[in-house]
Amino acid sequence: MTSPQPAPTYVFDGPTSRRGHRMNKMFMSLTRAQAREEFLADESAYCDRFGLAEDQTTAVLRRDWQAMLDLGGSIFYVYKLAMMDGLSMQYLGGVFTGMTEADFKAAMLAGGRTDV
């Protein structure tokens, strides 16, 4: 299929969704309190249980948010892990753009990033 990825944009298309399917399912499971406990008790084993690829498990363990996107994570699913860690979407925005959370928030309050 044709992929419509505009340059710096993630589009959750067929190839992306196939690559990320197990990892996204793992993220989805974290909406349940019981699952969060099990995850926190042994993150690596929990990732194995969902059949994540090795690079995906590594990205999750290191909280490498950019790598999670590159390995097929959907932002709405990745965010469930961030929420568990007490992190905001604005924190993630900072990570993706190389800013601190405070700078990212300030950029948004100033009208957002209109030039990208």
Partner: protein, 285 residues
């Protein structure tokens, strides 16, 4: 027949709901946004319809990636507010209107729309935040029964804007053929410009957003003609949610009367917009 009395387009950013739930109405970061809502809320408070149809998307809370409907419709008596991970919002569950739902379902399917039927559905912030924008203090219950109309906007390929507009027009026909005389409000939700992931995170395009706020009133065909790629480029990868406003607009008359619009940046990472239209024919000179 039922009559669509108004249409409301509004963003559904979760942080708007969170700000309301935490009483941040007068917080300097939020007060301008809520001030912009005020005229719409006042107008709507006097015009509670018998039923509302709310066009929204789920964000991995009511449905999973295993099964992604392009268009879904709820036919339940009741829709529970989803627990998105840390407890549900302290707002009422949603009372449905199954008789109208089944009428709409049959009419839409007969009209060539391949709806997915939800006999059970938990609704997330994409649904409850617009209800809060409309009704900030619902008390024990939202003002009227509400029917969920779900659109896939997070998994590529989304329906085209043209298909969303056509769904709205079919929805208008379906409502017109309902045997009972009831009044209906339609909410189209999502947007405005925003992008959550990648190096373009934080993208906002006020020029596009203002064009959209104008055109949704006077020239929705122009918006319906834009491609997925146009929306993603101009409004960001999550700004494509705006296609859901076209379902709302399609269900209304060709000519509508603008009651109020508002635009504010930011609600968290998103440009928040609101547009309220009266569907009753304007008084003519």
């Amino acid at each position: 027949m039922s009559e669509v009395i108004w249409g409301l387009g509004t963003s559904h950013v979760p942080s708007i709901g969170a700000a309301m739930d935490r009483g941040l109405h007068d917080d300097p970061v939020w007060s301008k946004l809520f001030a912009g809502y005020q005229p719409a809320r006042e107008w709507l408070a006097d015009r509670t319809p018998d039923v509302a149809v709310l066009v929204y998307n789920d964000h991995a809370n009511g449905v999973d990636l295993d099964v992604v409907p392009t268009f879904g419709i709820g036919v339940a008596d009741r829709y529970a507010v989803a627990d998105e991970g840390f407890g549900r919002r302290a707002v009422p569950d949603v009372v449905g209107h199954p008789e109208l739902s089944f009428h709409l379902l049959q009419s839409l399917v007969d009209d060539g729309f391949d709806m997915t039927v939800f006999r059970e559905l938990d609704v997330d912030h994409g649904f409850t935040v617009p209800l809060s924008v409309w009704t900030p203090d619902p008390g024990d219950a939202w003002p009227c029964p509400v029917i969920p109309l779900m659109v896939n906007v997070i998994s590529y390929p989304q329906p085209t804007a043209a298909r969303c507009y056509a769904l709205g027009q079919a929805l208008g026909r379906a409502l017109a053929s309902y045997p009972e005389d009831i009044t209906v409000g339609i909410l189209g939700t999502g947007g405005m410009s925003h992008q959550l992931a990648g190096t373009r995170a934080g993208f906002i395009n006020p020029t596009f957003d203002h064009m959209f706020l104008d055109a949704i009133e006077v020239d929705p065909e122009k918006l319906a003609a834009l491609s997925r790629e146009d929306y993603i480029r101009e409004a960001g990868s999550e700004g494509i949610e705006l296609i859901m406003w076209l379902v709302m607009r399609g269900a209304m008359n060709a000519e509508v009367t603008k009651v109020h619009t508002a635009y504010h940046v930011p609600a968290s990472n998103t440009a928040a917009g609101l547009a309220l239209f009266d569907n009753r024919a304007p008084a003519r000179a």
